[in-house]
Amino acid sequence: MAGNSLLVTNGLVKRFGGLVAIDNLDLDVKERTIHAIIGPNGAGKTTVFNCIMNFFPITSGEIRLSGERLNDLTPDRVASRGIGRTYQNIRLFKNMSAIENILVGMHLHLKSHWWGALFRTRHTRQDEQHAQDEAVRLLQYVGLKGKGDILARNLPYGDQRKLEIARALAMQPKLLLLDEPTAGMNLAESQEMVGFIRGLRDELAITIILIEHHMPVVMGMSDTVTVLDHGVKISEGTPDHVKRDKTVIEAYLGTGVANL
C-alpha cells in the first residue's frame, strides 16, 4: 500500500460538555485507498466526519488535508478543498428534483455570478448548459438515468442513496466521506454498492473514508480499517489484522469472549 497521506489527524479530541466523544485520535488516510472506520454504536464515528467537515469546533488536535490545516475553515471552505460526504440518514434536498440536487453539488465548480444570472449572459448560459450535461452524465453513472425530474423525496430508498452519492461526486471531491452507504440494503444491493465504491477508488481515483456496520462489506473492500470504541482508537490495520485483534472482539462482544 504505497502512496502519500491525504488526510491526517493528529491528537484529535472532541468533547461535548463532560462527554469525550473522540479521544486523541490519530488517523492517516492514504491517497486512493478505502479507509473504513468501524466500532460499536456511539463509538464516535460520525463525530469524526463532523469534525473533518468542521461542523463544530474541535476541542484540540489538528486536521490536515494534503498538508493544509482544516481546523479554522468553515464547512463550505472545507468542502471547497475537495471533501464530499453523505449522511447516515439520507439528507437530500427533498423538495428539489434529482437533477437539481446534483446541480447544487456542482455549486463550487460553477463560476457564474448572480449578476450574470440576472442578465443571463452568454457565459452564464454556457456554464448552465455544461452543468446540466454533466449532471445528466452523473445520473447515468450512478444508475439513475431518466430519473432526473423526479423529486428526491419520491425516489425509492436505494435510489436516494445513489443520488446522495451522485451529489457528493458532483463536487469532484478528492476525499469522499461515506456514512453507512449500505444501511438498510439487502445482500445483493450491498454487493452492488461495494462494487460501485471500489469503482470510485479505481476509476475516479477518489480516496474514501467509510463508516460501516456490515462486516462483510468492510472486510471485502477496505484497504485499512480503524476501530473506534468510546472515541478511542483500539485497533488499526488491514482487515485481516483487525479481524484477529482480541481487543476488537472484546469491544464488540464483551470481555472474556475472546478467550473462549
Partner: protein
C-alpha cells in the same frame, strides 16, 4: 421551513359519521352563519345595497346563498345516498339554516337585546320579517329554508350540463350586481350610454339587465360544458408548435386587453392596479427571501421605506428640510440641483440593497421561527427611527417629507395614476424576469438548498453568509423599487405609511398565491390587495371578508392559488399515493 406545517396538515382523515349527523352539522354551519351575519351588523349594511334593483339586496342574496349552499353541501357530504334521500337531507340542512333567521325574528320580536347587540334593531326585524307579523314570517323563513335547501340538493344532483350553466348564470348576476358601481365607473363613454342605462341605474343592476346577464352567462357556460371537451381535445390533437402558437396568442390578447384596460376604465382602476403591482413587486422580493431561501422575514416593510425615503432625500428641492444633510449636500455641490426621480431610482435600489445586507447580518445565525421575531424587531426599528426626533432634521420626523417631484422621462411627466400604473407595470415585468432568472440560477438553487437543509448545503460548498445576505439584499431591491414608485405616487411620505401591517400583507399574499411561485405572487396580490380596494364601499367589513377568505383558502387550497411547479408535483404524487392506497384497500376488501 415553518410553512411546511401548513402544507402537511391538510390531509386529515375524516371520522366516520352517520348521514344525519353530517347533515345536521352542515345545517348548523348555515345556522351559525345566518345568526352571525345579523348580529355583527352586516345585514344592516347589506340590506341597503341592491344586487337587482328593487328586487334583491345583497343581504337577501347572501341568505339565499347560505341556504342553497347548506343544501348542496349536505347533498355532497352524503353523496352515497340515493337521490331522493339526498334531497331530504338537503332540505333538512336548509331548514336548520332557515331556522337561524326564524329564531332571530322571534328573539327580535319578543326581547330587546340591543343593549348587547347594537345591530339587533327594529329595522332588522322589519327587514327579516318582510313587514308581515313575526309568526308568519318565521314560518315563511323555515319553509324558505326547506325549499332553498332542497333546491341546493337538487342542484347538486342534476347532471353537469344543467348545473354548471345555472350556477354560472346566478354567480354572474350576483357579481355584476355587486360590482355595478365599478362597472359603471369603468364605462363612462358617450357611446355606451344607452347600453349602460339598460343594465344599470346608479342604485344597482336593473332587472332587465340581470336577465340578459343571466342568459348570456348560461348560454356561454352551457356551450362550454357541452363543447368544451371536444374543443380541448381538438387543441390537444394539434402539434406542439401550433399549441404553443395558440397559447401565446391567447396570452398576448389577454396582455393587450390588460394594458388597455386602465386607459379605458379611468384612474380609479389605474390606482388599484398600481397598488396590486406594487405589492406584487414586494411579494417577489419577499418570495426570494421566504419562498426560495426559506428566511422568514416579518420586517420587510423596512426596505420599502428605505426605497421611498431615499427617493425623497435626493429629489426634494433644496429649500426643504431634507437637503441640509451631508449626502445630499455634497451632491448638490456637484450637480447644483436635486436629482430627478429617474436619477434617484438607482440610488434608492442601491440603498435598499445595502439595507437588506445590513438587516441580514445580525440575523445570520437565527433560524426558523425565531427569525420571524428577530426580523419583526428590525422592521420596527426602521419605522421608529423614521419617526424619531433624532432623525427628524433629515427624515422629517412624523411630518414626513413633502413635495417629491413626479417622475419625468423625456419631458413626459408621470402625473396621473394611470401613467404611474404603466410605470409600475413595466417595473413589475422587468422585476419578474429578474426574479425568474435568479430562481433558475446557481444562486437560486443554493437558496433552495439552504431552505431544505442548511447544514447539507454548507457541506456542499454553499457559503451561507454570502447566500443569505444576497437573499436579503436582492429581495430588498424589489421592495426598494416599489417604495420608489410609492413615493412618486403619494408625492410625500410619512413614517406612518410603513406599518407592520404591510409586512404582514405581503407575507399573506405570497402564501395565498402559493409560496415560492412567481405567478402566485401576482395572483395573490390581486386577490388580497386588489379585491379589498374594489370593495371599499363596504368599509371595515371588507377586512372581515379578507379574514374569512384567508382561513378558507388555507383550508381548501393550502398550496395557494397558483402553487410553484415543485409543490404541484408534490401534490400530484400525494394524490397518486392516495389512489394507490385506496386501490389496495379495495383489493383487501375483496379478498
Amino acid at each position: 421551513m415553518a410553512f411546511d406545517v401548513i402544507a402537511s396538515t391538510f390531509q386529515q382523515k375524516a371520522i366516520a359519521k352517520t348521514p344525519w349527523r353530517k347533515t345536521v352539522e352542515v345545517g348548523l354551519i348555515g345556522f351559525g352563519l345566518m345568526i352571525y351575519f345579523n348580529i355583527v351588523g352586516l345585514t344592516g349594511q347589506f340590506m341597503e345595497r341592491w344586487i337587482i334593483e328593487s328586487m334583491a339586496t345583497l343581504a337577501h342574496t347572501i341568505f339565499l346563498g347560505i341556504a342553497i349552499g347548506a343544501g348542496a353541501l349536505a347533498a355532497h357530504r352524503n353523496e352515497t345516498l340515493s337521490p331522493g334521500a339526498r334531497l331530504v337531507h338537503a332540505a333538512l340542512a336548509g331548514l336548520i339554516a332557515g331556522a337561524g333567521l326564524a329564531i332571530l325574528v322571534e328573539v327580535l320580536n319578543n326581547f330587546n337585546v340591543r343593549f348587547m347587540f347594537v345591530a339587533m334593531s327594529p329595522k332588522l326585524l322589519a327587514f327579516l320579517s318582510f313587514g308581515v307579523n313575526a309568526e308568519l314570517a318565521s314560518l315563511a323563513l323555515l319553509a324558505g329554508g326547506v325549499v332553498l335547501g332542497a333546491f341546493g340538493g337538487m342542484l347538486y344532483s342534476v347532471p353537469g350540463i344543467v348545473r354548471k350553466p345555472l350556477v354560472v348564470g346566478l354567480a354572474s348576476v350576483w357579481f355584476v350586481g355587486l360590482f355595478a358601481e365599478l362597472i359603471l365607473l369603468a364605462s363612462q363613454f358617450e357611446v355606451m350610454e344607452d347600453i349602460r342605462n339598460f343594465f344599470f341605474t346608479w342604485e344597482g343592476q336593473r332587472l332587465e339587465g340581470a336577465i340578459v346577464v343571466f342568459c348570456v352567462a348560461v348560454g356561454l357556460s352551457a356551450f362550454w360544458t357541452a363543447r368544451g371537451e371536444s374543443i380541448m381535445t381538438n387543441y390537444r390533437g394539434k402539434g406542439a408548435r401550433q399549441q404553443k402558437g395558440i397559447r401565446y396568442s391567447l396570452w398576448l390578447l389577454a396582455g393587450v386587453l390588460f394594458i388597455l384596460f386602465p386607459m379605458a376604465a379611468g384612474s380609479f382602476f389605474g390606482q388599484v392596479l398600481m397598488l396590486v403591482g406594487l405589492y406584487a413587486l414586494m411579494g417577489m422580493g419577499l418570495n426570494i427571501e421566504i419562498g426560495l431561501a426559506g428566511l422568514l422575514d416579518m420586517g420587510f416593510v423596512a426596505f420599502f421605506a428605505t426605497g421611498a425615503y431615499t427617493i425623497a432625500l435626493f429629489t426634494v428641492p433644496e429649500s426643504d428640510v431634507a437637503c441640509v444633510t451631508p449626502p445630499c449636500d455634497y451632491l448638490i455641490k456637484i450637480i447644483d440641483r436635486p436629482l430627478t426621480w429617474f436619477e434617484a431610482l438607482p440610488l434608492a435600489m442601491l440603498a435598499s440593497l445595502v439595507m437588506g445586507v445590513l438587516f441580514g447580518i445580525p440575523v445570520l445565525k437565527v433560524r426558523g421561527d425565531y427569525l420571524a421575531v428577530a426580523t419583526l424587531g428590525l422592521g420596527e426599528i426602521i419605522r421608529v427611527v423614521a419617526v424619531s426626533d433624532m432623525a427628524a432634521p433629515m427624515l422629517g420626523g412624523s411630518q414626513g417629507l413633502l413635495s417629491i417631484p413626479r417622475p419625468v422621462l423625456f419631458d413626459f411627466e408621470f402625473s396621473d395614476p394611470i401613467h404611474l400604473f404603466y410605470l409600475t407595470l413595466v417595473s413589475t415585468i422587468v422585476a419578474a424576469y429578474f426574479a425568474w432568472a435568479l430562481e433558475n440560477s446557481r444562486l437560486g438553487r443554493a437558496w433552495m438548498a439552504i431552505r431544505e437543509d442548511e447544514d447539507v448545503g454548507q457541506a456542499l460548498g454553499v457559503n451561507l453568509v454570502d447566500v443569505k445576505l444576497l437573499a436579503y439584499g436582492l429581495g430588498a431591491v424589489f421592495a426598494g423599487l416599489a417604495g420608489a414608485i410609492f413615493a412618486a405616487m403619494l408625492a410625500s411620505i410619512y413614517p406612518h405609511s410603513f406599518q407592520l401591517l404591510i409586512s404582514i400583507n405581503i407575507l399573506a399574499l405570497i402564501i395565498v398565491g402559493g409560496i415560492g411561485s412567481l405567478p402566485g405572487v401576482i395572483v395573490g396580490s390581486a386577490m388580497l390587495i386588489g379585491t379589498p380596494e374594489l370593495l371599499r364601499e363596504f368599509g371595515e367589513f371588507r377586512f372581515l371578508a379578507y379574514g374569512i377568505v384567508l382561513v378558507i383558502m388555507m383550508r381548501v387550497l393550502p398550496l395557494g392559488l397558483w402553487p410553484s411547479s415543485v409543490r404541484k408535483r408534490e401534490l400530484q404524487t400525494l394524490e397518486e399515493a392516495e389512489r394507490l392506497l385506496k386501490d389496495r384497500g379495495a383489493e383487501g376488501q375483496k379478498a
